[in-house]
């Protein structure tokens, strides 16, 4: 049994300790918002937060999060997450949408660490998240918009 917190609730899973966290979340916990894209920590579709830090869940053994707090797209909340999601909708970022859970989890972590990132910092924080629909220009704009709304500045 491996026990950890997921989206604020305690969970105990009877799974292979080597099972990647991604599959524990999807197949054992039944939360499917976190996506499989590459299985090699190359694309970022599986990004979740572990104790507030963005990690790629597709390689991380579930045993390594025992006793920790895991947040997925279904549970991410708070002012930063709300600002990011609002910006994503306002700028119509999504196309196919498959990578966007991971994009949003990376963006939320970036803004929680650094509420006013410049373009280079955005590109650096988001470079692990591939979007084959190439929504990148809108992702960049949405992060800037969320940053401005968090700092209470106008959206000019």
């Amino acid at each position: 049994m491996i026990g950890f917190e997921i989206n604020g609730s305690a969970i105990e899973l009877d799974v292979d300790p080597d099972m990647p966290l991604l599959w524990a979340i999807r197949d054992a916990a039944g939360l499917t918002g976190t996506k499989y894209g590459c299985g090699a920590a190359l694309c970022g579709a599986c990004t979740v937060h572990v104790d507030g830090r963005a990690v790629r869940s597709c390689l991380l053994p579930v045993s390594s999060v025992a006793g920790k707090s895991v947040t997925t797209i279904e549970g991410v909340s708070g002012g930063t997450a709300a600002a990011v999601k609002q910006a994503w909708l306002e700028l119509e970022v999504v196309q196919c949408g498959y990578c966007q859970s991971g994009q949003i989890m990376s963006a939320v972590e970036l803004l929680e660490r650094n509420p006013s990132p410049d373009d280079a910092q955005i590109d650096s924080a988001m470079r692990g998240n591939i979007c084959r629909c190439a929504t990148y220009a809108r992702i960049r704009d949405a992060i800037r918009l969320a940053s401005r709304s968090l700092s209470g500045r106008s959206e000019a």
Binding site: D27, C38, C43, E92, Y98, R127, A134
Partner: protein, 731 residues
């Protein structure tokens, strides 16, 4: 199916005649009903299940007593925004409030949901979704509106002509009465279905041409949108397949003892495409697959390698190929020309590499089989599965889910991954639903690539630098040959998708020859976003740029002079050039390049602005895009498709390449097959030409234009011509 198909085919020619017609036109309509003879799964739209008080005027719209308008999409939503587009067309003519409109996927049933441009086939591709649906969806909305008005007129005992509809409210102004759609739904359902409807004058459009929120936006930012990968059914098992290491190899023998011993593994089956491990979950299936001991029979395997193939293609291009277009006397004109230019271009295989690797769920039952899939080719997949399972196509019921990208891949001409899943379900005796999951490596190595191509061009210029002769030879595999689409795609040995974008060269040149050599390799190939234009646009637009340079002319002016018969081409080119500041001086170390291309009846021009980087590489600072796609239904969706389509093409411009070595694919994941990342995405501006022409596609046409625009900018930057794609990030 055939009787209804004939109706729809007749409609198609009717629609073609009517599509360009003007204001407030009254049209005869025959819209299929919602309920069909062969019902879809219970609970899905089209099931024919009677829901109390629900108004189902036709196959494309239902109105519930709770005031929800549901638009039924016959097309796959794979990111291109088609749910939003189809809903806009219905809501416009219905005068619905945008917030009351929801969208759900149609079942597979070509008698009602065929693509009007594809005859009796249901499917999504060729950037046809909005173009073929434009009048059909408007008529569906107008018919529903007319029935709501009739119901209100009857209820209020007033003349229908005195009733107005606005934002989901039906109103009789002089008596002050009004009702919502939901309140009228039950009564509207009892009204006769109109045989003729009046569609709006474009001047009265309230949604078309405006920005409306995407219908698939909110579910895709909170994890609730359901993709095939997310389907969970009672008793469902997950399967991974060990595929042969080389194309054409087969299983000789397999030792599955260790795999069966992995906890969670339920079964191991040898199937035509490899060895399937079936397990309770993905991880067990994956560990089981790792434990398989397989002896492959490689005696029939493909031996080709990319490098040797390209050398043989280069050789083939020395001789004349089959004629795709011939005008004038090219050889004579080349001989007499004052100046002759030659260039050749090389293109690698490309994987689609959608973010969601291929997958599907299949359940076999007494009624036949039920499929959950990002379904792009409903009719073809129904036929293939029916053939394999020994049932009728109607017994293949399809639940279409969001696709996590496709770029053409999910419209596989051989239904490859669906048949693989069916084989696994059948091998298991049909006892449990099976979810087939491909890993990224499975997806990337399965083939169905954009083919490798070699192009050889020769042109002759007169003394003033004007082109007098143009000879274009293309060498590569046919996408259509050997598929059900061969008769439609291949004429006299020429696959139209091998030469599209070259054979319709828009520039006025008196002597033109476009020729094709079709090769046979054994590497499976398929349409990849923008298909033939992904290579022909590069060859044509880079070469015309060389001609302009040789003539000492500005590349934009040179093109414009040759586009006399193509005013819409000229207009997009001029618009992109104007907005990009073409001709205005740039700082040292910066340069611009331009390209123009028509695909899927949409014209796109792009200007790329590059900077030389200190490390010798280059950076794309800005791309200005102009597009003419007829009436702009959803301008923001069009902008998104221009941005994203360009970005998709930029991956192939800069880095993406599939390499074949001795019949095996070298790249397996995003470390080897590199794709665009956020730091490489330039600033993008999109300008849409105002138009009253019927709408044309936007999903694909931006993709092929960026590579030549960047290559031409690179030439302007350092005087070197790019001859192969990808360019490499630091070229």
């Amino acid at each position: 199916m055939s009787a209804k198909t004939r109706v729809n085919l007749a409609r198609r020619s009717f629609l073609k005649a009517g599509v360009g017609a003007g204001a407030g036109l009254t049209l005869g309509v025959i819209l299929p009903p919602l309920a069909a003879a062969q019902d879809a799964a219970p609970g899905l739209p089209g099931s024919g299940a009677l829901v109390a008080g629900r108004f189902e005027p036709n196959a494309f719209v239902t109105i519930a007593p709770d005031n929800t308008v549901t638009v039924i999409s016959k097309h796959l939503e794979m990111g291109q925004g088609v749910y939003t587009g189809l809903a806009t067309l219905v809501a416009e003519e219905l005068d619905a409030d945008w917030d009351q409109v929801a969208v759900s996927a149609a079942p597979a049933d070509a008698s009602r949901y065929n693509n009007l441009f594809w005859g009796p086939m249901q499917g999504t591709g060729g950037s046809t979704a909005i173009a073929n649906s434009f009048m059909q969806m408007r008529e569906a909305g107008a018919a529903a509106r007319q029935m709501l008005i009739a119901a209100a007129a009857e209820r209020w005992s007033v003349a229908a002509g005195e009733i107005t509809v606005e934002s989901g409210v039906v109103r009789h102004a002089s008596s002050g009465r009004s009702a919502s759609f939901g309140e009228l739904a039950e009564a509207a359902a009892r009204q006769p279905v109109p045989s003729a409807v009046t569609v709006k004058d474009p001047a009265d459009f309230r949604l078309i041409g405006k920005r409306v929120p995407r219908k698939d936006g909110s579910g895709k930012i909170d994890g609730s949108a359901v993709f095939t990968q997310d389907v969970q059914l009672d008793g469902m098992l997950t399967s991974l397949v060990a595929h042969p290491p080389r194309f054409g190899a087969r299983v000789n023998k397999v030792d599955s003892a260790a795999a069966r011993a992995v906890p969670g593994v339920v079964a191991v089956h040898q199937i035509p495409s490899g060895v399937a491990v079936v397990a309770r979950d993905f991880w067990s299936a994956s560990r089981g697959r790792d434990a398989l001991q397989i002896d492959w029979d490689e005696s029939g395997a493909v031996t080709a390698s990319s490098a040797t193939l390209m050398a043989s293609y280069r050789e083939r291009a020395q001789s004349a190929g089959l004629v795709a277009r011939s005008e004038g006397a090219v050889d004579t004109a080349l001989e007499k020309a004052a100046n002759r230019l030659d260039a050749s271009y090389e293109f690698p295989y490309l994987a689609h590499a959608a973010m969601e690797p291929m997958n599907c769920v299949i359940r076999l039952d007494e009624q036949g089989c039920e499929v959950w899939n990002g379904e792009q080719l409903h009719t073809g997949d129904q036929m293939a599965l029916a053939g394999f399972l020994g049932i009728t196509p109607q017994q293949v019921r399809v639940n279409t889910l969001f696709a996590g990208g496709s770029f053409g891949r999910r419209a596989n001409p051989q239904s490859d991954y669906l048949l693989e899943a069916a084989a696994i379900a059948k091998a298991g005796g049909g006892k449990a639903p099976v979810k087939l999951v491909w890993t990224r490596e499975d997806d990337m190595r399965a083939g169905w690539f954009r083919p490798m191509y070699f192009h050889s061009l020769r042109a002759g210029l007169d003394a003033q630098g004007r082109p007098v002769a143009w000879r274009h030879r293309i060498v590569g595999q046919s996408i259509g040959a050997g598929t059900a689409f061969e008769s439609a795609m291949v004429r006299d040995g020429v696959d139209s998708t091998s030469v599209e974008g070259a054979s319709n060269l828009p520039y006025a040149i008196p002597n033109v020859s476009v020729e094709l050599h079709t090769t046979e390799v054994g590497v499976p190939v398929q349409w990849w976003r923008a298909v033939g234009s992904t290579h022909t646009a590069f060859a044509v637009e880079c070469f015309i740029d060389e001609l302009a340079h040789a003539a000492g002319r500005d590349p934009v002016e040179y093109r414009l002079e040759l586009l006399g018969e193509h005013p819409r081409h000229s207009a997009v080119l001029q618009l992109a050039a104007d907005r990009a500041g073409w001709g205005k001086p740039l700082a040292e170390g910066k340069a611009r390049g331009v390209a123009l291309h028509e695909s899927f009846n949409t014209r796109v021009a792009q200007v790329a602005e590059l900077s030389r980087m200190p490390n010798g590489g280059f950076q794309i600072d800005r791309v200005v895009i102009a597009v003419d796609c007829g009436i702009a239904i959803n301008p923001d969706v069009i902008r998104a498709q221009m941005e994203g389509g360009m970005g998709y093409g930029l991956s192939a411009t800069l880095e993406s390449e599939i390499t074949i070595e001795n019949g095996a694919v070298v790249e397996g994941n995003f470390d080897g097959y590199r794709v665009l990342r956020i730091g490489q995405m330039p600033k993008v501006e999109v300008h849409i030409v105002k138009s009253a022409e019927p709408p044309t596609g936007v999903g694909e046409p931006a993709t092929p234009v960026i590579a030549p625009a960047v290559a031409n900018a690179l030439f302007a930057l350092d005087g070197k011509r790019a001859r192969r794609l990808p360019l490499g990030v630091n070229s």
